[in-house]
């Protein structure tokens, strides 16, 4: 038994009433805010498609689409199963309030971030470390974490947008961090924070497919002209 587990067992007896109180309060918050998420239309058709995805189709499977622009759009829509997956889009809010879970309920505790990583007095690092962390609570298996954990900049807000709107935003240097399409490809294929989506820690559904497959789809989308769905 690890030291961690030993300490948790030692404390479990006296801490149970406190834990139960917090758990009940947290559960009520989760339910109320999950309902709010639905009413705010965060679960767009694109997000629902991403949540339902069990994998990514390989680039080759799109070769039967003769029209290049149509093939490019189909490739992007396949890649968007990652882009719009809650593991990614939860931290791309249009507001400065992150969401969590596959139902995109409001982040608990409530956070409003002034900058990418810093709500005044409560930076993301107060809870999110350099890697996923186990908890001492049965209800939540781990706290997600990776280096440079934080919200995407305001200009890269994706929540409530259509797949087409996200696509156009990704191509726009004024809104994508002044990146070229090649830099977008490298970011999607190699960035460690993007990579976290496939290693999200216990209790969380990973993004579909692999980062390598995702990167290949993005590369093929760019190679076919980076067309966007309407």
């Amino acid at each position: 038994m690890t030291a961690n587990a030993t300490k948790v067992r030692r404390t479990a007896r006296w801490a149970a009433p406190v834990l139960a109180t917090v758990a009940v309060a947290a559960l009520g918050t989760y339910v109320a805010e999950a309902q709010q998420a639905r009413s705010n239309n965060l679960m767009t058709p694109g997000v629902q498609r991403a949540v339902a995805a069990t994998g990514l189709a390989p680039v080759e499977s799109f070769s039967s689409i003769q029209n290049t622009a149509e093939r490019s759009i189909a490739l992007f829509l396949e890649a968007s199963k990652v882009v719009e997956h809650p593991r990614c889009i939860n931290c791309h809010p249009v507001t400065r309030r992150p969401t969590q879970g596959d139902d995109m309920h409001a982040h608990v505790p409530p956070i409003t971030s002034e900058a990418a990583t810093h709500a005044a007095g409560v930076p993301c690092g107060s809870c999110h470390g350099q890697s996923n962390r186990p908890t001492g609570s049965a209800g939540i298996q781990s706290i997600p974490g990776a280096p440079h954990w934080g919200l995407a900049p305001q200009s890269m807000g994706w929540q409530t947008l259509t797949s087409g709107q996200i696509c156009e935003q990704l191509k726009d240097p004024k809104r994508n961090g002044n990146r070229s399409l090649e830099q977008i490809r490298v970011h999607m294929s190699e960035d460690h924070l993007v990579a976290w989506a496939w290693h999200p820690g216990q209790g969380r559904t990973p993004a579909p497919g692999t980062q390598e497959q995702f990167g290949s789809l993005i590369a093929a989308w760019i190679a076919t002209g980076a067309h966007c769905p309407k």
Binding site: T2, A3, N4, K7, V8, R10, T11, A15, V18, L19, T21, V22, A23, A25, A26, V108, P109, P110, I111, T112, A119, A120, G121, V122, P123, G125, S126, C127, G129, Q130, R133, P134, T135, G136, S137, G139, I140, I143
Partner: protein
């Protein structure tokens, strides 16, 4: 493993994955920091590392490195901490008291980055510190009093 706690180097024989909270409470016998939920939801275990609020229940001690840990036991050594302690007593914030060490540490972390927080800033920063007794209005009033007190001293 050597960690810096309240200005003193402390050698502790623990696994690197041991939560900082248990190192403080069970190894160093510093029981001012409390266990609440174990999942960074309630804020009872809040301490500071290099002046930044951290939830010690899910912070692996091995991740701290040379970071300076400050706990409730040392809060009164700073001007901010003294102002908060006085305000807490003047406003009579505490009811059962279980969450209050976390509330105070989070309040101190807030005043480090925002010397004169308004209601919204206080609510944003303190939203992750749950109080079963509902002392929130008094917490807010005490933070404002401490901020005013500190401003008057400058």
């Amino acid at each position: 493993m050597r960690i810096q706690v309240n200005g003193t180097a402390r050698d502790v024989e623990v696994d690197p994955d041991t939560p900082l909270l248990w190192v403080l409470r069970d190894v160093l016998n510093m029981t001012g920091t409390k266990f609440g939920c174990g999942a960074a939801l309630c804020g009872a275990c809040t301490v500071m590392v290099d002046g930044v609020a951290v939830r010690s229940c899910i912070t692996e001690v091995g991740s701290i490195g040379s970071g300076a840990v400050t706990t409730i036991e040392k809060l009164g050594d700073t001007k901010t901490g003294q102002a908060l302690q006085k305000a807490w007593l003047d406003v009579d914030v505490v009811q059962c008291g279980y969450c209050q060490s976390g509330q105070l540490m989070q309040a101190a972390a807030l005043l480090e980055v925002n010397a004169q927080p308004d209601d919204a800033a206080i609510d944003d920063a303190m939203a992750g510190n749950i109080c079963r007794c509902g002392t929130y209005p008094r917490v807010r009033a005490a933070i404002k009093q401490a901020a005013a007190d500190l401003k008057g001293r400058r």
